[in-house]
Symmetry: C2
């Protein structure tokens, strides 16, 4: 009996990683979107009502990140199959955890298996990226790439470069129950930046990269400090300054806005202090009037993958 | 008989390396400054008339890069010796080849040996940096660091990180006979930069770093393209566009302004085409009315060192 449906899981992710605006991201285990792709007698792509978290997402495939990604895959490869997508949202919308990217990634990973295409993660990347661009208004791969490849990834144009991750590097991502619209967060970045700020940020990006390649946690920690984006966006996140300080007080190597926020991510050498830090960060959000969820994950965690074949 | 004088050589260097403004630099063999440091019965630092290239440099030690560096070393370490410096300039002033840095580096390297201090290159760095700041008006170590350590160096605050250099990487530095004042070149950078330009530059910096660590010449070549500084400064260098194009036509991985210019540096995979490229770059400068000199050097070349002990 041939396969009639495939379900794939794509993890959440942390975009920017403090100092790699639009070019650095890492995956997060334990939270993600699932997409089930089923053959359908009618050609083209259809999207069933969204499952999982209550979200208001477009169901027209060309306006939906998962739908757009699969449409692109079918069109580019000249495939005329009929596919039905069932999206099970595990990542809240506009959370800064790469939710729109994850739906697109899970959809192309499942379609790749169902259609027996044997495309690599690198080959799937442009399709997922085209899907994500629908939601964010621009094509930037710092969520798509780590979701497809796992771990920490540098996006250099079309090159996706998996970075070596120091053993034990752990992320604590705290998602407050408020939303930051990506478009609003991007507007904060319209005014240009002075050279001294850019140089400080470039230095930190270089520290993060060299810290990874040289397995130097001290250098990495020095680099995990956002001089450029955070001063513009921090005010969009109630309690940000206190949440960041709570993470640093708990021994974080650094802490920063994940993607466009409002999630705040802190990084730790090992996992001994992560639960304590998560509690302290949640308390700080609580004092700003916000409930929150926590994800604690190895930075070097697994990529999107097939969960079920029927 | 005890040592009465030490002569050290410091190589020229290429600052910025296209995309690492103020934080990346590499040394150049075959051209540099020499400083002879001699014990003198009078305490303090004195500077003898400059030798070598005809230059108009201050001889008061506190206003001279070499003098200031040695004064700093003596003051910080509480040493009361009397020292006389003889500076032999091999690097033209305001050439973009790190001339002011090289005098400071050679002076501290020679003083370190003469005073038998056994300081490491990293320990000598802040003294040389203080000297160079006199000339350039700001303390940036992208010339000092590679001159002290050799090869390609990332300057991350007080950390000097020697980067692995792909074997055979060769620099062709062409110095046209005109001057660009560092202060004037810096003024071009006063206006802030838009985010898309910064992101393009950061991506290229990341490519250069990853290309070095992964020994990937293709990635390195993609990175050696300055989106940020060159568009502002190119007009300060007559013929720049044609010189760069001549280098690329000759097979350069990339070409960019060295430091604040006017020297243009191009990088090559191996040395087969370097002489041809140098000729083409010189011809392009000639068409802009400028004579020029050429230095061809391995990027991974040697550091400042002692040449003579008397």
């Amino acid at each position: 009996m041939s396969t009639s449906s495939v379900t794939a899981f794509a993890p959440a992710s942390v975009g920017n990683v403090a100092v790699g605006f639009d070019i650095l991201g890492h995956a997060l285990s334990g939270i993600g979107d699932r997409v089930r792709v089923t053959f359908s007698p009618e050609s083209g792509v259809r999207i069933r009502p969204i499952e999982g978290l209550p979200v208001d997402l477009p169901l027209e495939p060309e306006n939906n990140t998962a739908g757009r990604a699969v449409l692109d895959l079918l069109e580019q490869l000249g495939i005329t199959a009929g596919l039905e997508l069932t999206i099970d949202k595990g990542i809240p919308l506009a959370s800064g955890l790469g939710g729109s990217a994850a739906s697109a990634v899970a959809a192309v990973v499942a379609s790749n298996a169902l259609l027996d295409l044997n495309l690599s993660a690198h080959e799937l990347y442009p399709f997922a990226l085209a899907g994500e661009a629908i939601a964010s208004g621009s094509a930037h791969g710092d969520n798509i790439a780590p979701q497809l490849l796992g771990g920490l990834v540098l996006v250099a144009g079309e090159d996706l470069i998996s970075l070596p991750v120091p053993e034990g590097l752990t992320a604590v991502a705290v998602h407050p129950h408020c939303q930051v619209a990506t478009a609003q967060a991007r507007q904060k970045l319209r005014e240009p930046f002075p050279l001294d700020v850019i140089t400080a940020q470039s230095t930190n990006l270089a520290r993060v990269l060299a810290g990874c390649y040289q397995n130097d946690i001290g250098l990495l920690a020095q680099g995990l400090n956002d001089h450029m984006i955070e001063p513009r966006r921090a005010t969009l996140i109630p309690g940000f300054v206190d949440v960041k300080q709570a993470a640093l007080n708990a021994g974080a190597l650094g802490a920063a806005i994940s993607g466009a926020g409002p999630t705040v991510c802190a990084w730790f050498d090992g996992d001994e202090r992560t639960q304590f830090a998560a509690n302290a960060m949640q308390q700080a959000f609580q004092q700003a009037g916000l409930d929150s969820d926590v994800v604690i994950s190895a930075v070097n965690c697994t990529a999107a993958h097939i969960e079920q074949v029927d």
